[in-house]
Structure formats: C-alpha cells, structure tokens
C-alpha cells in the first residue's frame, strides 16, 4: 500500500519559525496528510508565534489560539459544536508543545483522553519552554542544560506516551519528521481512527538544543537511531510496539555529544543512560535481525504527487 503525499502546502512560506525548526517541518508534513478538512487548536507554544503575527497567518486551514492549559478542552468544544452542526468529517487537532502537554496542559489532556473524545492531540516536544527562553519542563531530559537548570537537569523525562496510553485511547504513537514514511503513515492512521488519538513528536530546536540549524534533522535522527527516542505505537491496551528498528543501535553518547545543551554531562551519567536505553529497547523487542527485514520493507512507502 502506498501513501500519496500531495504537493499542496498548508504551511505558508515566510513564517517566522527559526531556521531548522523541527516544529515547522513537522506541521508541514502533518497538514499534507490531514488536508483541508481540519481545524487546529493551539495552546501557547512556539507555534503561537510562528503562526503570526496578526494580521498574517502561516496556516491555510482554520486555527484557534487558546490559553496555555486549554488545548484539549477547547478542542473538545470545537469537536462537539461541529458534531452538532453535522460536520463530523472535519478533524480537530490540538497542536501543543511539551509545556502544553506534559505540564500545564496535562490535566485537560487526561480529561479528554479519559472520555475518549474524538480529537487528535499532537505534542511537538522540543524538551523545554523554548518560546520563553529555554526553561526546563517535565519533558526536559536528564543532563540537559536549560536557563532554569544551569547545572543540567537532574530528573528523568516524564513518560508521556505511557501516561496517555494508560487512558486506553484509540491511538497513541511517537514520531519524528526525519522519518517521513513512518511519520506520515502514523498521521494517516490517526486521521482515519475515531476517538482520542495522541502523537508525541520529538521536535528539534536549534537555539534551545545548542545545535547548528543545518544539523537539526541529523540530531533527531540520532535520537531515534540510538534508542533515546524510539518510534513506537501503542494499542488500546497500552502495549508498545516498535515501528522502526535501527539497523545498529548508535551509542547514546553520540546523541549527547551532538548537542551543546548536554555539554556538562559526565561520562558516568551517559553510561547510566546507555544502560537504561538498552534495557528499554530490549523490552520493546528490539533486535538487529528484525531490523534488517524491517528496513527493507520500509522503503517506498509513500509517493509524492
């Protein structure tokens, strides 16, 4: 089966995203799959700025900017209003950063997930409050420098996918735009599913991650290849399945060394994380043998036009 990806662009050129912003690239590819019959609900986040300023807009589909904590709840309101008006075929997507998902938005997200509301909630996770100047969030990984963790984050990143999956939602997955086939297929699935759908994107941030903008994609590729950010899907029972098997697991040190924000990390810390990541990948059923077969099957899964 092939996925047809249209030439049409729903994100305008000339938006005010930073060069190399993973969130702009992610939105561009998401909207190619969702198409025109979608409404975006956006709590405060980097994209709140990227979409503007008034009276301009970077999106070719309707967009509603909402309070920081209100992403899910506002989307639920839009959904029910559309349903009542007989517009059941219009998809409602929340597009939130990690703050609007992991932290301030979590309560409302849980509430909508618990009721299996018919919306798609996308978190583009750049692992800190980048819009306000790189302050830590509960999505910030251990070891990362931010302006409020000047000596490096000491705590583990919150496992948001498991938290959302525990609500027995219709669909939950992780994705990274650097893997467009995997990425777009997941949005295709989410688009055709009914009920609460959640996609957690790792989204690179050159200023916040202290990387060059032309390394933006490469760095997220390393996150996936090392197993730091595995590409998975979760079924309704919360069982995680890898959707992409790296041919060879890259040492996590390569990922950490690629970014200025991890400069302060000690080798011991990296070794601890390496052990945890290896264990996590084993639990997810990773093996190099499957990787070889999977990689062949994955090529040519979408066409443009």
């Amino acid at each position: 089966m092939q996925l047809k990806v249209p030439h049409a662009e729903y994100v305008s050129f000339g938006n005010v995203g930073c060069p190399g912003c993973g969130a702009v690239l992610s939105m561009r590819h998401v909207l190619k799959i969702l198409g025109k019959k979608a409404i975006v609900v956006m709590p405060a986040c980097c994209w709140g700025i990227i979409a503007g300023p008034y009276p301009t807009t970077a999106l070719q589909i309707p967009l509603l900017q909402v309070p920081f904590a209100a992403g899910a709840a506002c989307a639920v309101g839009v959904r029910h209003a559309l349903d009542k008006q007989g517009k059941k075929d219009v998809l409602v997507m929340v597009w939130a950063g990690d703050g609007g998902t992991f932290d301030i938005g979590l309560q409302g997200l849980s509430s909508a997930a618990e009721r299996n509301e018919d919306i798609l909630f996308v978190c583009y996770d750049n692992e800190a409050y980048m819009n306000t100047g790189i302050q830590r969030s509960s999505a910030t990984p251990r070891g990362a420098w931010t302006t409020t963790t000047p000596k490096g984050e000491k705590l583990q990143k919150k496992d948001i996918l498991r938290i959302v999956s525990a609500h027995r939602v219709a669909y939950a997955a992780t994705a990274v735009v650097t893997y467009p086939a995997d990425f777009m297929w997941k949005f295709q699935k989410a688009k055709s599913a009914k009920g609460f759908r959640f996609i957690h994107l790792l989204s690179s941030c050159p200023p916040g991650w202290r990387i060059d903008s032309d390394n933006s994609l490469e760095v997220t590729r390393m996150a996936v290849e090392s197993g730091v950010f595995p590409l998975v899907e979760s079924d309704e029972g919360g069982r995680m399945t890898l959707t992409y098997y790296p041919l060879e697991l890259l040492p996590v040190s390569a990922y950490f060394k690629s970014q200025g924000r991890f400069k302060g990390m000690e080798d011991v810390e990296i070794q601890v994380i390496q052990r945890e990541v290896t264990e996590k990948m084993n639990k997810l059923g990773y093996s190099r043998e499957i990787a070889k077969i999977q990689d062949i099957g994955r090529i040519q899964k979408f066409i443009i036009g």
């Binding site: 025109k36 979409a51 509603l64 909402v66 899910a72 709840a73 639920v76 309101g77 839009v78 849980s110």
Partner: protein, 379 residues
C-alpha cells in the same frame, strides 16, 4: 405559559432549556450544582450536548471552543470556579465571542465559606463581560434569555449573577414562558465569525501593540453600544414575553432624601426596609442596580441629586480601597455638579444575615451623623 413553583437553580436550567444551546460544559461547585444536575437531564430534550469535564477551567475552555466553532453554549459556576475560569473570561471578550455564564455568587476562601456575597463576580469586573445581578429567580430565568439576545448582537459575553442559596436554593412561583414566544424573542444563533474549513481564518494570532490597542478600543466601544442593544432587548422582551426590565430600578423614590443603593437578592430585603421606613413617614427610597456592566452611570446621575444621601450596600470590598459598588457609583457621579453624598457600607460578606432592621439601623446612624461619608461603614 404556565406558572410553577421552582428553585432558582431550576429556573436557570429552565431558562437555558428555552435558549437551547448546542453545548453545555460544566464542573460542580456548591451552590451551583443543582443547575448542572438539572441541565444534564434536560439537555437531550433539545439535542444539546452536556460535557462533564475535570475543572471549571476546562468547562469554560470547552465552551470557548464550541462558540468559536459557531455554536451557542452555556456554563454555570460559582466563586472558586469563576476564579479558575478567569483566564478564559479574557479570551471570550477579547475574541468577541457571545456567551452566557451563570455565576451563583459565593464568598471566596479562606476561610472556607459557601454562602453568598459578590466578591467572586466583582473581582471579574475588568474582564470585558457584561454583568447582570438578579433579584429574583424569575429575573434569573429572563436574564439568561436576554443575555443571549444582547450577547449575540454586541458580540460580548454576559455573566448573570444569582445569590447562592438565597436564590439558587429558594422556591419561587415562576412564569414559564412558552417556547414559541421565546423563539420569537430569541432566534437561533447565527455566528458572525466562526472556524470554518471553507473560509479558513486564524483566531487570536499575536497582535502587535497598535493592532492590540485598536481592538481594545473597539471592545470599549462595543460596551458603549451595548446600552442601545440592551434597551432594544428590554423593549423586545416586553413585546414578546410581556415583562418589563431596565438597567436600574427606582422603588418608592418620590421625594426620597435617603436612597438605599443595592443589587442582587438583598434588594428584596431592602424593599421591605424601605416600606417599613416609609410607613414611619421617612423619606427613604431604593435604587436597584441590575446591569453592573455596562455600568449605568448616566441613569444613576439622572436619578440621584445633591440633596440626597446614597447609601451603597456593598457585598464585595476592594480591600485597601472601598466597597466595590461604592467605587463605581462615586466614579460615575464625580464629574456631576448635582451629585448625591455617597455612603460606603459593607454588609453581608460570606452570607452574613441582613434583616430589614439592620438596614433601618444603618439609615438611622447615617442620618444622625452624616460625617460617616468619610469612612467605610462596617456593621
């Protein structure tokens, strides 16, 4: 039309039923709960969707989404719930989204208190919402219908206040309007702006200072225009439903030297006090403030004159300053030559009982020693 005994909460629910909103989203808080319990039962009757959410913040956010998508919506809350909604209140008025919210007035903590005063809604006076304070359950029912009428014409949200317990949990004989009559008064909602895939627009992108300033100026001029719309609403309501309403109401005002200025359910008690004083030959009248936003300053200026003492019965305090209602009244009269003396009395916070005698005592005290006008008067 039928007449029925009903609690204030059910009167509100009945008013909402007549307005038939597409979406109702709510979260329980004493003393608002009966409203949403009844609505959860009634909503299917007109195909309305009742959405139970996890907080007042989400309740109002869900309503915001629904209204932006082009539907009529409703919620009810109280005190701490209203505080939790505070951020979204600004979104409604900033986005110029029509909406009706019922707030069952309740005192804020700490300490815990579930009884009525106006601190919760007075604290929201600068959020760009119209505010109506109801004296009776009938007025609550009618104000909801009027709220949608006004809101959908001036594109400003409306907050309707009823006193916790004093109105919400008290039975009253109500006039229940026929749906047909109400439909003539309040046609189905036709949104001016909405999220529409066939006409994609963005709501709320960051506005640079010049644009922002202009929009805020428009918000203020919408409030100024709302005087006209509200007057039109009152006329139409009388025509179709048969009851007359106004921004303020003057009671036994002829030749009044002292005027009790009051809003909400306390008005009932004040009427009794005024009757008792009139019976004793005292020249006391009453001025009820129904619309608090837009503030009926001109009507007040016309009604009151400099030979009068206006005793404001405040049920909310702007701590470190004055009673919230007093501040507004003084500000409205300040530039008038012919202005009444205003006395700043704080009564009934946290549901503290006020009897007609309490009010008579206040009037007597002030008449004895007019210098009271220089200070806040606490009981």
């Amino acid at each position: 039309m039928s007449r029925e005994m009903m609690m204030g909460s059910d009167a509100v629910a009945y008013g909402v039923k007549l307005a038939k909103p597409d979406v109702i989203s709510a979260y329980p808080i004493t003393p608002q709960t009966h409203i949403i319990e009844t609505l959860s039962e009634l909503a299917p009757l007109w195909g309305g969707r009742f959405i139970n959410v996890e907080s007042e913040f989400s309740a109002l956010s869900t309503c915001f989404g629904a209204v932006c998508a082009g539907s009529r919506a409703f919620t009810a809350t109280s005190s701490h719930g209203l505080f939790m909604m505070h951020e979204v209140l600004h979104y409604f008025s900033g986005a110029r989204m029509p909406f009706v919210l019922v707030n069952v007035n309740r005192a804020p903590g700490m300490p815990w208190n579930i009884w009525s005063d106006q601190s919760d809604s007075m604290a929201q006076r600068d959020t760009g919402w119209l505010q109506v304070y109801c004296e009776t359950c009938q007025e609550a029912l009618d104000s909801i219908l009027q709220g949608y009428f006004i809101s959908e014409r001036v594109l400003l949200p409306v907050m309707v206040m009823i006193d916790g317990f004093t109105l919400s949990h008290t039975m009253e004989e109500l006039e229940l309007h026929d749906q047909e009559k109400v439909d003539r008064f309040l046609p189905p909602y036709k949104p001016t702006f909405k999220l529409d895939i066939d006409d994609p627009v963005t709501f709320g992108n960051a506005a640079p200072p010049d644009h922002y300033y202009r929009m805020r100026k428009e918000l203020q001029s919408a409030f100024e225009k709302s005087f006209h719309t509200i007057a039109e609403c009152h006329l139409k309501f009388q025509e179709e439903i048969g009851t007359s309403y106004d921004f303020i109401e003057l009671y036994r005002f002829e030749g009044a030297e002292t005027v009790l200025i009051v809003s909400g359910a306390l008005t009932g008690t004040a009427r009794v006090a005024v009757d008792m004083m009139r019976d004793q030959g005292k020249r006391v009248g009453l001025l009820k403030i129904r619309f608090f936003r837009p503030f009926p300053g001109r009507a007040l200026g016309k009604a009151l004159n400099k030979s009068q003492k206006g005793i404001v019965l405040n049920r909310a305090v702007s701590y470190g300053a004055q009673g919230s209602l007093s501040q507004e009244i003084k500000a409205a009269l300040y530039n008038l030559e012919n202005r009444a003396q205003i006395y700043d009395v704080i009564v009934s916070l946290g549901g503290k009982e006020v009897f007609p005698d309490t009010l008579i005592n206040i009037v007597e005290q002030i008449e004895k020693d007019p210098s009271h006008k220089d200070a806040m008067i606490w009981l």
